[in-house]
């Protein structure tokens, strides 16, 4: 089980969290103006990196807030964590 560093509450066990998938995938401001390729990319294409991966978690059974982390997907070590809206580490 992972020990996840919530930027608001500190390290907590994984079962308190839900996973939010890859971070920094922004929905287009005006979806009507987006072509099929961009829409496919937003909905389905993921970097799925082997290595350092930027992703979102939500402290569902704690403070309830979303935050971003960088985790290495080979070792599962957390390398950085930041609050939503802060610059990307």
């Amino acid at each position: 089980m992972l020990l996840i560093p919530c930027p608001y509450c500190g390290p907590r066990p994984e079962i308190e969290f839900s996973y939010g998938g890859e971070a920094h995938i922004a929905r287009a401001a005006d979806p009507r103006r987006v072509d099929d390729a961009a829409w496919t990319s937003f909905l389905y294409l993921r970097s799925n990196r082997r290595g350092d991966h930027a992703e979102r978690w939500r402290h569902a059974h704690g403070c309830g807030r979303f935050f971003n982390v960088v985790r290495n997907t080979n070792s599962d070590h957390f390398l950085a964590t930041d609050k939503i809206g802060e610059p990307r580490p």
Binding site: L2, E14, S18, E22, S41, N48, E55, R71, T73
Partner: protein, 417 residues
């Protein structure tokens, strides 16, 4: 190739079983091949076999970064069934199931395919509605699947607890009698031996680290830990590592890779006659011919390539197993491991061409592709040889994520199997 038979076994016994050849060669990579397959799992090895056998494409290499069958093929719980909901999937998985039925003869290799029946348990009204819909859809597609009562389920699988006071009572089950299990290693080894005999080079300890392309953008070869190798047709069959390989050609994929775990118990005498799955409380179990109970757990919540899952995930499954089969409560578990499964948004695979000329992909089998091994390999070999998909795999293209023609099998694949 030395053929295996009772007579050959007897003859070898006369000199202490010392006269057997290697089952496949260990060749050095050649400078170029007509087709290169990346990934020596069942799907990749099978693809090479059918290319050589059915399409006479014999200048083929399978490149495997570790040892063949060391990926998900050798880590899975081997459940084989074809009772998927949609027409496209029923055709795909039943094509595979039909090939399983004659695979041992085809390869002259005992893959220990055993059609002992797969029973999917129903615990609530929602399950009942979904499974009855599946039963009807399957029967319209000519795929066997039947609805049975809780009492009939208990007769089919005596260890099953159907007491009404359970937290998740058993209300009935859907039973596919043609479904079953097979020996995973034997599938990889059987395809490797038969492909090798037709001239395919199986190259282990050879990791692909780059994909080369010519000025026109067409695939021209691969970089590997054993040097550069040229080819104009490259088939990626790398399960959990597909996104990593496709990124080498700049192709982003609709895939996420998650750890999926399984565990086996100490071996015991035959106690469990079939395969039982429960989507609702997430457990699936069978007994191997060695006597071990083979139990599959769920995926972890997050992307990972660690080949290791968390303990709370397998605990969750074991709790369900203990409630469904109280006689296993004191059973000791021997081994626990993980594999990395490549999951698509609609839980259906991708088998076909890409926009990059010369690059083909067979992936997205996620938690449930072992059952499809012969079918997937047969169809992918067709696609590589003819440069167009077979009608069965045509709907399972990469473009469907843009066109919206998804094949949403999330319900059929809800349990990781």
């Amino acid at each position: 190739m030395q053929r295996f038979s009772a007579f050959a076994l007897f003859r070898q016994a006369l000199n202490g079983q010392k006269g057997w050849d290697r089952q496949w060669r260990d060749p050095e990579p050649k400078p170029a091949y007509d087709v290169i397959i990346v990934g020596g799992g069942g799907h990749g090895l099978g693809t090479a076999y059918y290319l050589a056998k059915k399409h006479q494409v014999r200048n083929v290499a399978v490149l495997e970064k570790g040892w063949i069958g060391g990926g998900n093929t050798g880590r899975n719980t081997t459940i084989i069934r074809s009772n998927y909901l949609f027409d496209e999937s029923a055709a795909l998985y039943d094509h595979a199931l039909k090939l399983w039925e004659s695979l041992a003869e085809e390869l002259n290799y005992n893959v220990m395919f055993s059609q002992r029946g797969v029973m999917m348990l129903v615990h609530n009204v929602h399950d009942e509605q979904v499974f009855k819909r599946h039963v009807h859809a399957n029967r319209l597609n000519g795929v066997d699947n039947e609805w049975i009562s809780a009492e009939a389920a208990k007769r089919f699988c005596p260890p099953l607890n159907i007491a009404p006071g359970m937290r998740h009572p058993v209300l009935g089950a859907a039973l596919q009698r043609r479904a079953g299990i097979a020996r995973h290693d034997a599938v990889a080894w059987g395809y490797a031996r038969a492909a090798d005999a037709l001239g395919v080079d199986i190259i282990q300890n050879c990791e692909v680290t780059g994909i080369d392309r010519d000025e026109a953008g067409r695939v021209s070869g691969v970089q590997t830990t054993r040097g550069a190798i040229r080819t104009r047709k490259l088939g990626i069959v790398a399960a959990g590592n597909t996104s990593v390989l496709m990124a080498m050609a700049g192709q982003r994929m609709p895939l996420e890779s998650y750890p999926l775990q399984a565990l086996v118990s100490e071996p015991v005498k035959p106690v469990f006659p079939c395969v039982v799955m429960s989507n609702t409380i997430h457990a699936y179990i069978s007994q191997s011919d060695k006597g071990e109970l083979v139990i599959g757990a769920g995926t972890d919540a997050y992307i990972s390539y660690s080949q290791r899952g968390a303990l709370h995930i397998s605990m969750h499954t074991l709790e369900a197993i203990c409630e469904l089969f109280p006689m296993f409560r004191r059973m000791r578990m021997l081994r626990n491991w993980g594999g990395i499964v490549d999951v698509t948004p609609d839980r259906s695979p991708i088998i076909g061409k890409t926009e990059i000329p010369g690059l083909y992909v067979n992936c997205g089998w996620g938690t449930g592709g072992f059952k499809a091994t012969p079918g997937s390999a047969d169809l992918f070999a067709w696609t590589l040889a003819k440069d167009e998909p077979h009608p069965i795999n045509a709907p399972f293209n990469l473009e469907r994520f843009g066109s919206g023609r998804l094949i949403d099998e999330a319900a059929a694949a809800a349990v990781a199997h």
